[in-house]
Amino acid sequence: MSNVRILVACKRVVDYAVKIRVNAAGTAVETANIKHSMNPFDEIGTEQAIQIKEALAKAKGNAEVVVVSCGPAKAQETLRTALAMGADRAIHVETNDELQPLAVAKLLKAVVEKEKPNLVILGKQAIDDDSNQTGQMLAGLLNWPQATFASKVELTDAAMTVTREVDGGVETIKTTLPAVLTTDLRLNVPRYASLPNIMKAKKKPLAKFTVADLAVDIKPRLETLKITEPAKRQGGKIVESVDDLLDKLKNEAKVL
C-alpha cells in the first residue's frame, strides 16, 4: 500500500475524571464550565491512524491522517489535540444542535464522500452517551465492511486483518478496504501530545463546514424523556449479634 488516507472521527466529551451531574430539570447532564476532553476511545483511534502512518512511512509509503469532529465551536479543541498527536489536518462540522448517532453517521458519510478515505476509524463508543452506534451506522450508510471492537489491526494491500473483542474471547476477521474500523480499549496506548506539538498543531489546516454545506438532515429521531442519577449507595451497618444479623437479613434486606 503506498497512498492511504485515513479518516478518524473524534468526539469532545466531558472528561472521564469529572463527576457527572444531572441538571435540576432532569433533562440533561451539566456541561457548562466542566472540563472536556477527547473521547478516550477516539484517542485510541487517532493513535492507531498515526501508527499506521508511521509504519507506512518506514516502508516508503504515504498516509494522510484526517481527523473530523461534529459539534459546537469548542470541538476544535479536540481536533487540535488530535493534530498535536500527529494527525495531518482536521475537518470541523459546526453545529450547536443536538447530534444523535444517526445524524453524526450521516454527516460523516458526507465527509467520507468528500475525502474518499481508504479507512475510517472511530472509537467504539463515546463515554458520554455510550451509544455504540455511529461506526456501525456509518458502515451501513456507506455500504462498507465494518470491523468493530478492534484490539489488533494489520493492514496489507487493499485488505485488513482485525482481531475483535467479542464475548468470552476474540475473533479474527479479514475485510477488504475501504472499511470502517471501531476501536476497543486494548488496541494501543495513545500518546500524550507534547507542548511543542500542541504549538505546532495550531498551524495545521482546519477546514470548517456547516451542516447546510453537507446537506444532511440532522433532525433528532429519538426523544430523551428523563435523565436521572444512579441510586445512591447506602452505607453499611454494624450488627450487634447473630440474632440481630438474622433479623436484619429477614426484615430489612429481605434475603432470607
Binding site: 475524571a17 478516550p40 480499549l185 486494548r186 496506548v189 495513545p190 500524550y192 507542548l195 511543542p196 500542541i198
Partner: protein
Amino acid sequence: MSQPSRHRVIALYKQLSYLGREYPAGSDFFHKKLKSAFLKNKDLKDPAEIQKRIDLGDYVCKEIEAMYHINKYRAMKKRYYEDHEAESLQQKLESKWASSEGTPLKK
C-alpha cells in the same frame, strides 16, 4: 545555569508545567514542587551534572504521561469491562508496561 542548556531547561520546565495541569493531587501542589525542584538546581555549573538533571526531568515527564494513561485506562476498564477478564488482562498489560518503562519514580 550555563548558556547552551538554557533553552533545553526552559522547554523542560514548560513541558512539566503543562503536564502538571492535570495532576491528580492538584496543579497547585504540582507547580510548587516543580518550582522548588528547579530552584534547588539553579546554581549547577557542571555540564555533565546539568545533563543528568535534564535526563531525570525527561524521565519524570514519561512517568507522568504513563500515570495519566494508566489512570484513564483503569477508569475505562472499571466502567466498561467485567471484573474477572479485566483483572487478568490488567495484570498482563501492567507487567508489559513495567518491563518497557522501568519502575515508577518518586519525585
